[in-house]
């Protein structure tokens, strides 16, 4: 049982998705919902032993499974997690449960297909984080696009077709170039698709630089980094609430994860050489996209831009090449998973009642929805990086690390503390405070028990991580230190 834990984490949600799909038409919608919830919970339960049985002292891969898969290409079904990927798997399994609950009432059309798409995607994303074989990784990495494409396109907003195409083609462009790099690595490493073997494969500077850009495009689009971020606001705005939650909380992390698993260890010399480039893009994201977020009239778009700005911190942290920055980036990833999920759920709550995401359609919500306003407040503060929330920890660590490297990096990065507070709290003020602005708001009811449960769980996560982040950093510490030690060594032949 314990030997196949990672397989379970991947295949339980996928199988559950297939079973849900088999319930067929909307006549069995209730059954589909309960089955989906059971599947998501089961997926979370099988993921928990990963955390309890995790050895924080080592940076080696744990829970390893390896079997021949395509001997013709020397491709293996090779799974394993370290301190970087394990928290992300847990985060994903956890968010999946929330997404299923969030779609409980809102989705009335093709319920089984909706739930199945999320479950299957959840399994595939777990596979992305657990795969230690390049082709296996690629299969999961690409495979997750299919359910996401359908989620955005079938259940999305008015402009969903454009958003779905843009999202799919953008991400495909990056990953196809990555595929060529992988094939090249296969021959350079003497015929292996094993990611850990690639970590030790010697590569010349030209090859490293070219591969750096191929991987940067693949993962930079996913993160997304400025200037290849433009698909994200479209996809977010058009996606249903659950789709936005998964996009922000999980799929963006896939991109950032790729930096740690591929770019830094496989092309370390190019990474050092071109770190200025990534840092420049990251700081642009932080400062410029922060300003863009400020002027948004659509709440989802605002949070989408804020996601880009926050992910800028993650990539910035990774390319400072010190443990504080890298761990800060990873903490920021997890924290952003919670906070962005919560914010999109909050917007979903409002949208379900008023069917608008425009800030101007709201006002004075606190009079009608006091409980909701309290939750929303907490998450808005976390997004702004208030101390004692999880949003503070990662940003603080990255800014500290940036100060050690270059004062001006830290200076620009720190603008987020002002900009983040400005765009989030200004939106919060316009939506929640003041007098009730129009009759529609007058009719809004406060959140139901189901919604309290959803937001409550996330609130606990945000606070716990903000007050006592040590368990999170402990898990990743050994792997991060090892990774940075590895990156410090040149791979030039």
């Amino acid at each position: 049982m314990l030997n196949n834990l990672l397989s379970l984490v991947i295949w339980v949600p996928i199988l559950a998705g297939v079973i849900v799909l088999a319930t067929g038409s909307d006549r069995n919608a209730a059954l589909a919902r309960w089955l989906a919830l059971a599947g998501a919970l089961l997926g979370l339960i099988v993921a928990i032993p990963l955390a309890t049985g995790f050895d924080t002292a080592t940076s080696a891969m744990q829970f390893v499974e390896k079997a021949a898969w395509i001997p013709a290409f020397n491709v293996h079904y090779h799974l394993g997690v370290d301190g970087i990927s394990m928290p992300l798997i847990l985060l994903n399994s956890f968010i999946t449960v929330l997404v299923v609950i969030a779609g409980w009432q809102v989705i009335q059309d093709k319920v089984a297909q909706y739930m199945a798409a999320f479950l299957i995607m959840s399994g595939l994303i777990n596979g992305v984080f657990a795969a230690l074989d390049g082709i296996l990784f690629y299969v999961f990495f690409e495979g997750m696009l299919i359910p996401l494409y359908l989620i955005v396109g079938v259940w999305g907003g008015p402009n969903r077709v454009y958003a779905a195409f843009k999202f799919f083609l953008y991400t495909l462009l990056g990953s196809l170039l990555m595929l060529v790099s992988m094939i090249y690595l296969y021959f350079q490493s003497g015929g292996s698709f094993d990611i850990q073997t690639w970590h030790t494969t010697a590569l010349g500077m030209t090859a490293q630089t070219l591969m750096f850009f191929a991987f940067l495009l693949a993962f930079g689009v996913k993160v997304p980094m400025w200037p290849v971020h433009t698909w994200l606001p479209d996809a977010h705005v058009e996606a249903p609430t659950g789709g936005s939650v998964v996009l922000a909380a999980i799929t963006l992390k896939v991109g950032a994860y790729g930096f740690l698993r591929f770019i830094l260890p496989i092309v370390p010399d190019a990474s050092h050489e071109l770190a200025w480039f990534v840092i420049l893009l990251s700081l642009t994201a932080v400062a410029y996209i922060g300003l863009v977020a400020l002027v948004q009239a659509d709440m989802k778009k605002l949070i989408a831009y804020s996601s880009i700005a926050h992910m800028g911190f993650v990539t910035l942290g990774f390319f400072l090449f010190n443990p504080l920055g890298a761990e800060g980036g990873l903490v920021q990833m997890i924290s952003h998973g919670f906070v962005s999920a919560a914010l999109f759920l909050c917007i979903g709550v409002m949208y379900d009642r008023l069917h608008s995401r425009q800030i101007k359609d709201y006002g004075g919500l606190v009079n009608k929805m006091p409980v909701f306003a309290a939750f929303f407040m907490l998450f808005a503060m976390a997004n702004a990086g208030l101390p004692a929330t999880s949003g503070f920890v990662g940003e603080f660590m990255v800014i500290m690390a940036a100060t050690q490297v270059n004062f001006w990096f830290a200076f620009v990065a720190a603008t987020t503390l002002i900009l983040g507070a400005a765009y989030t709290l200004w939106m919060y003020k316009r939506v929640v405070f003041g007098a009730v602005s129009n009759p529609h708001v007058e009719e809004m009811r406060d959140i139901s028990l189901r919604e309290i449960l959803l937001l409550g769980v996330l609130a606990v996560c945000v606070l716990v991580m903000g007050l006592y982040p040590k368990p999170f950093t402990d898990v990743m510490h050994a792997s991060m230190v090892d990774l940075l030690a590895h990156v410090a060594q040149s791979k030039l032949p």
Binding site: F73, V154, F165, L172, L176, V180
Partner: protein, 476 residues
């Protein structure tokens, strides 16, 4: 004299003659006889092929004919493909009054031609098989006599096909002049240590490659493909778009890979040009199509470009990957055209893109199968189309043509757009056509197997890949 490798061909020939006679004697109500006998033919041929399966290359008929693992594996896939074609086309042909003995006879003659092509080891037999195939196909396209579009398509096909055959023959005669032999084996030996007559040889190779490109439908020799695919009745398009590609692959491999193996440096550069142009034009032009058959025609052109990537690698790995690609392509092509046939009914062709709108509401299962087919054609995992692309890309990178791999993936990105558009029509849009789908149960079952095979082979690609690699290794 060795005869065993030729038994399947003899059997098919005998059975076609039998069907021809029987069908002439029965009336319209008993057409199922020809249908059933066709399956008996395929099953019998499959049995004979399996029974005398060649584990090593065996020459027969005085060196005209060869039985090797490559030919036997490809023949088995040819039988399978033709059988699936017959199942998919039956209802379509019946409601259009084409359900006649001629169709079965022509299909089986075409099969015989393909079998000869994959087993030929001599320019004469190669050409014989090719012409038997081509003539049958010309007639099949023209079978719907009252359709002016089909007749026009047949005419184009015939004229351009004849031109291509002429080029091929001319090229063959040049090569014969240089090597003094029509047998592929002797030719390879004669060219092993180089030749003084390099210019006539390269001249001949140019014509041979042009002829082959015509038959494959590679740019710039692709002009017939969209018109024929579009104009022919869909059942015939299904036939043309599936099995003959497998035979054409064998044809190319036999001539270039075996006969002209030592000249790889000469023909590789030609194939590079053909491949790049095919992938570029096929993928870009497909975007502009509103007719699904035409779109698939351009998609075929681009797929043939991809397959050429494997061949131009000029290594056993490359041939194996091209073989894998072409078998996967045949499977996807069967599914794609098969789906058009399943959705068509009397007076309705279902070949416009808009006819697929809202398919998910009308039949979630068929929509799902089509989704698998489309993502497979686009090369998105976990479908088998991804491994097909992966294997040819790998072959190309292996010989150091990284730029070609980059170009190929960029063109496949363009291609992804129009495959995604089909998925969009099926899943995101509301149906325009709300008539019930009248496909017969057996066609639905075969379609389900066809679609699920795309997924199953995507999850476990090793067996098919191993078959291809083994067949190539044991035959070279």
């Amino acid at each position: 004299m060795q005869f065993a490798p030729v038994f399947p061909e003899m059997f098919v020939l005998a059975m076609v003659s039998l069907i021809l006679v029987i069908d002439a004697a029965v009336d319209d109500g008993k057409r199922y006889l020809a249908y059933a006998l066709s399956f008996v033919t395929l099953a019998g041929a499959a049995f004979l092929t399996l029974h005398d399966f060649s584990t090593l290359p065996v020459l027969a008929l005085g060196g005209l004919f060869i039985g090797d693992p490559l030919s036997d594996v490809l023949k088995l896939f040819l039988y399978l493909t033709v059988a699936v074609v017959l199942v998919y086309s039956r209802d379509y042909l019946r409601v259009r009054g084409l359900y006649k003995g001629e169709f079965f006879v022509l299909a089986l003659f075409a099969l015989l031609g393909m079998m000869v092509m994959v087993s030929a080891s001599h320019f004469l037999t190669l050409y014989l098989g090719l012409e038997l195939l081509s003539l049958s196909l010309y007639a099949m396209v023209a079978l719907q006599r009252d359709s002016s579009v089909a007749t026009e398509a047949a005419m184009k096909y015939f004229v351009l096909g004849a031109l291509a055959s002429g080029m091929l023959l001319y090229g063959m005669s040049m090569v014969y002049g240089v090597t003094g032999s029509l047998s592929l084996g002797d030719m390879a030996i004669a060219l092993q240590d180089g030749t003084d007559l390099r210019i006539p040889l390269v001249f001949g190779i140019v014509f041979i490659v042009a002829g082959l490109a015509f038959k494959l439908g590679a740019v710039p020799f692709h002009m017939w493909v969209p018109d024929v695919y579009h104009g022919a009745p869909t059942a015939m398009t299904l036939f043309i778009g599936s099995a003959p590609k497998i035979a054409a692959f064998a044809f190319v491999i036999r001539i270039l890979g075996q006969g002209l193996e030592s000249q790889v440096g000469d023909w590789r550069e030609m194939l590079v040009i053909l491949a790049v142009l095919s992938m570029a034009l096929g993928n870009v032009a497909a975007i502009a199509q509103t007719n699904l058959k035409r779109m698939f025609a351009y998609s075929t052109i681009s797929h043939m470009g991809f397959m050429l990537l494997g061949i131009l690698a000029g290594s056993q790995n490359g041939y194996g990957s091209a073989m894998f690609y072409v078998l996967v392509y045949a499977l996807m092509s069967l599914g794609g055209f098969g789906m058009i046939l399943l959705l068509s009914r009397a007076g309705f062709e279902a070949d416009q893109l808009d006819d697929f709108k809202g398919l998910n509401r009308r039949s979630p299962w068929l929509a799902f199968l089509m989704l698998l087919l489309m993502f497979s054609m686009a090369g998105v995992p976990p479908t088998v189309g991804f491994y097909a692309k992966l294997s040819v890309l790998q072959a190309v990178v292996e010989i150091g043509y990284v730029w070609l791999a980059v170009a190929a993936v960029l063109f496949s990105l363009i291609g992804a757009f129009y495959y995604l558009r089909i998925v969009k029509l099926m899943y995101f849009d509301a149906p325009v056509d709300t008539a019930p789908i009248t496909a017969s149960p057996d066609a639905r079952v075969v379609m389900s197997v066809n679609g699920l095979a795309i997924l199953a082979l995507g999850i476990v690609p090793q067996p098919l890949m191993a078959v291809c690699i083994h067949a190539i290794h044991a035959s070279f």
